[in-house]
Each structure stands twice: as structure tokens, then as C-alpha cells.
Point group: C2
Chain length 283, copies 2
């Protein structure tokens, strides 16, 4: 979580809605006192921060099972709002089976959820509810709404959505993989000052493929003993085979070794964008 | 596409179903004469190849907008079926607005599709069908079925699904981003012999994080002039922050430079898995 000083100025925070999503849970964890405003697309959230309607936006960036949340990466790479990452939050993803109060597992005829949540509980569903129909929803919150409205329906959803709609939990932590964790980033008009335990996210690309270019960039970090906690290539939309490289490096962009590495890298790439420096999340 | 000799022995090929998916289109492109068998989860497909029920399985591995298809990566990383990549196919993703024959755009009350397809046509929907409801489906093929059954419903779907269910196309190529491309891999019990224009996919990991480890591995390729066409880190499921690194390198694993690099890498990593060597796809 961000340190108290900087989080204190966050009065209004937007999150990927509708209310009841894991993003809302992450926003509550990041800034418990702030007013929460749902948004319905990551690009929309960026606009509300830039327009000053909210102080920050909380958006998922990576799930331990599903990998990158590409809409967030694309906003960071292509967005022209000047948003920076000022904090990160990592949260375990816990799926629950929920239904109208009074219903039992034996009453369930159909289970609704977002296809990704259904997939993350696939083994549980086939073992515990064989033969029960599955229905797709646009969000886990919409699934709970459907479960409350339709006879014999249940939903797979986060606890926050279950509470919001007055549903009851029939079984909790039903996800097949207990290590399911999502990392969220907090986007604001500036990143975070150095705390001594920071991380910097950035991306770069090259005009053309040539062996060893990426190796050269990584050498700037390696030679200074800077650990990369993540590297990822992401198609440039110029077609498969042309990539942006996204890197998380331990340290703050104002640390002398990091600043020096970035100066050198700038000279060897065609594009360098620093997404921000922020404190490493400690649960 | 694989060369004629090796593709000729593919009599039965499984693909990520139901019938009408982009995976079926890719299977038709890879082995036009083969019998096609749908499967409903990537792990299931791997089992059918290993059991000899089919000769190969076609599965998506990367989309230019969405990034990696993590189920396929996980099967390659964790699967114990001994499957290898023997070919790749890259295919443009074209979404169509489809409905019962006789319907017009003005008749549409609800548009069904997989949430991902709805998202990929979001701008088109808000501009051309403002105020029309959206409904989630478990697959684009299920969306066409729904559109054929429900009054006032339409579906966003690939042409193959539209044809299969006897629906009509009201508008074609409605995806917001024209560069939407998916790369599929063909999994079989052996990879492909060298053709002189090949690619090798592999993954590796380290017992613990230490600055420069990844850099050292990449140096084995860079020092031999071998181009990496892709690099990606993927959480190990031991929690966020521990990664498998997935790399595509130009060349065949039997090319002397590639073989030499792999021998050296094997000594510096805790795990090295070679997914296979296969001809680069040429449309």
C-alpha cells in the first residue's frame, strides 16, 4: 500500500466496476476512506483522473493464472493522459458460490458468472455440481443480480458482490487454484516519491528486429546489479512479431543506478516510456 | 503452414470447440483434408493426442490484442503428455454481426457474444447500435445459436459459426482494431524436422531471483547472433513475482548454434523445457 502521507490526499478513487468487483475490493484496500466511483472501461478511468474528477484509478494489471490485463497495459503504453503508476496492491482472488438466502446446493439448476470465473472454478463445478447448466454474465456482479432474480440460479462471485446484492454464500473459496492472485496498479497524475523499497515500471521498443538489442538493454540493468522482477513482450499492433517490452525493475527512477541505466537505455531504443516508480506492495 | 510431407499424415485433428470457432478455421487452414474433432478445454485436447485419438491438436497461443492464451502456455509448461509444437498458424480475426435471415440492423434489440468479442467490437457497438442491450455467451458459436432462437437477438461471431447455424451476416469486419490476429500452435507427439526457416519455443526458470540471471541466458543467444522473436514472463503459481520465462528463438533446435546455446543454458537454469521446433508460418 502507498504510505500514509500520499494516500491521505486521495479523496475520490475510481475502480473497474460495477460495484462488487475485485477492483472495488482493491480500491477499499488502497484508500479505505476515499469515495469510490465505478467506471466501466479502463480507458474511461484514465480520462476521469486526467479531468480531475477523481484523484486516482485502481485497475488490475496482472493475474497469477490469466497473465497480463492487456487493457491496462495498453492504456499505459498508448494513453496520452500522462497517467503514472503511484502504487500497487496484490490481492488473493477468492470465488464464492452464492444464491438467494434459503437456497441449498441441491437447489441449483444454473450457475452464472463471467466466463473467466466459471473457468477458474471448472474442476469444482464438474465435481460438485455435475450436470448443472452454466450461464455467462458480463461481470461477476451481474451474475449475483441474475441469481437473485431467477429461480434455481446461483452465481460465482467475490464476497463484496454477494454482500451488495443481499445474496448468501453457499460455499467459499471454490476456485480450483488456491494461488490465484491479482495485482492492481493505482494510476494518478504523478507517481510516488522514493521510499527505499520501490519498483519502477517501464516499456521500450525498437524500430526493427535485430539480434541482441533486448540483450543490450537488459545489460544496462544487469551491469548495475538491478533486479528485473518482470519482463514481458506485448505485440505492437503493427502485427504479430513486433513487440513492446515491458519491464519492472527493483528501485526508484531517482535512485542513481536506475537513473543512470535509464539514461543509457534511452539512447539505444526507439521508444522509452516510464510508467512510474512506487513502493513495493507488502501485504 | 507445415510442409506437405508432415501434414499429410495428419488424418484427425482436434481443435478448441464448439464447431464454428476461430480454432476450427485455423485447423481447416492447417490440415484441410483432416477429420476435425472439437474439444472443450486445452488440457482435454492434449489428452486426446497423447492417447492417439487424434494426430494433432490446434490451439490458440497468442492474440495481438489480448496477449497470451494462458491455458495453452500452461499445458506446454506443466503438461506431462510429452506434446510438442510441430507447426504454427497465424490468422486474422474477423468479427461479424449475424442474425436470423431477414433481420436488419434496425431490428436488433440484444447483441450476444463472448465478453471478449463484445469488448473487441465496443466502439462499433456504441456508435452503430447505441442503447442496444448486450448479453454474454460462453462462446461465439453459442451466441449465434441464441441469435437464431431469440426474437430481436443478434450475435458477434466468426463467419464459420454464422455458416454452421444458417444465420446471415448483417455487417462484416466490425472489430475495432483491424490488426487483430491470433497465432495458433499445432501440438503433436513430435515436433517438425528442420526446414531452414524455423522457430524454436522453450521455457526456463530459476530457483531464486538474482540480478542478471535472465541476462546471462539471453547472452547465450545474443552472442551467437540468434534473434529472439518473443520473450515473456509467466507467474509460476508459486505466487506473483516468481516467473517462468518463455522465449521464441529463430532457428531449429538441431541447428548447431541453437543446440550449442541450449546446452549452455541448461547448465545455468533450474528448469529448461523445449516446446519444439517448427517452420515459421508464411501466409
Amino acid at each position: 500500500m502507498a504510505d500514509a502521507d500520499q494516500t491521505a490526499v486521495v479523496k475520490r478513487v475510481s475502480y473497474l466496476g460495477p460495484p462488487g468487483t475485485f477492483s472495488e475490493e482493491a480500491a477499499m484496500l488502497y484508500a479505505p476512506e476515499a469515495e469510490r466511483v465505478p467506471f466501466f472501461a479502463i480507458t474511461g478511468a484514465a480520462g476521469t483522473v486526467a479531468a480531475g474528477q477523481v484523484d486516482a484509478a485502481v485497475t488490475p494489471i496482472e493475474n497469477s493464472l490469466q497473465g497480463a490485463v492487456t487493457d491496462t497495459l495498453d492504456e499505459l503504453i498508448h494513453g496520452d493522459h500522462g497517467l503514472q503508476i503511484c502504487a500497487e496492491v496484490a490481492m488473493p482472488i477468492v470465488h464464492n458460490m452464492a444464491a438467494k438466502p434459503g437456497m441449498t446446493m441441491a437447489d441449483i439448476k444454473t450457475v452464472y458468472s463471467h466466463p473467466q470465473a466459471l473457468a477458474q472454478c471448472g474442476r469444482y463445478l464438474s465435481e460438485r455440481l455435475p450436470g448443472v447448466a452454466m450461464g455467462a454474465s458480463l461481470s461477476t456482479a451481474a451474475a449475483v443480480e441474475q441469481a437473485m432474480a431467477e429461480h434455481g440460479a446461483a452465481a460465482i462471485a467475490p464476497k463484496r458482490a454477494v454482500d451488495l446484492y443481499g445474496a448468501a454464500i453457499l460455499a467459499s473459496a471454490i476456485q480450483d487454484d488456491p494461488s490465484n492472485t491479482t495485482r492492481f496498479v493505482v494510476l494518478a497524475m504523478r507517481d510516488h516519491e522514493a521510499t527505499g523499497d520501490d519498483r519502477t515500471s517501464l516499456c521500450f521498443s525498437f524500430d526493427e528486429d535485430a539480434p541482441g538489442q533486448l540483450y543490450g538493454v537488459m545489460g544496462e540493468f544487469a551491469q548495475r546489479g538491478l533486479n528485473l522482477s518482470k519482463i514481458e513482450s506485448r505485440p505492437t499492433r503493427l502485427g504479430l512479431g513486433r513487440y513492446y517490452f515491458l519491464v519492472d525493475v527493483d528501485g526508484h527512477r531517482t535512485d542513481p543506478a536506475v537513473a543512470d541505466a535509464l539514461d543509457n537505455i534511452r539512447r539505444s531504443v526507439s521508444l522509452l516510456k516510464i510508467f512510474g516508480s512506487y513502493p513495493r506492495f507488502r501485504a
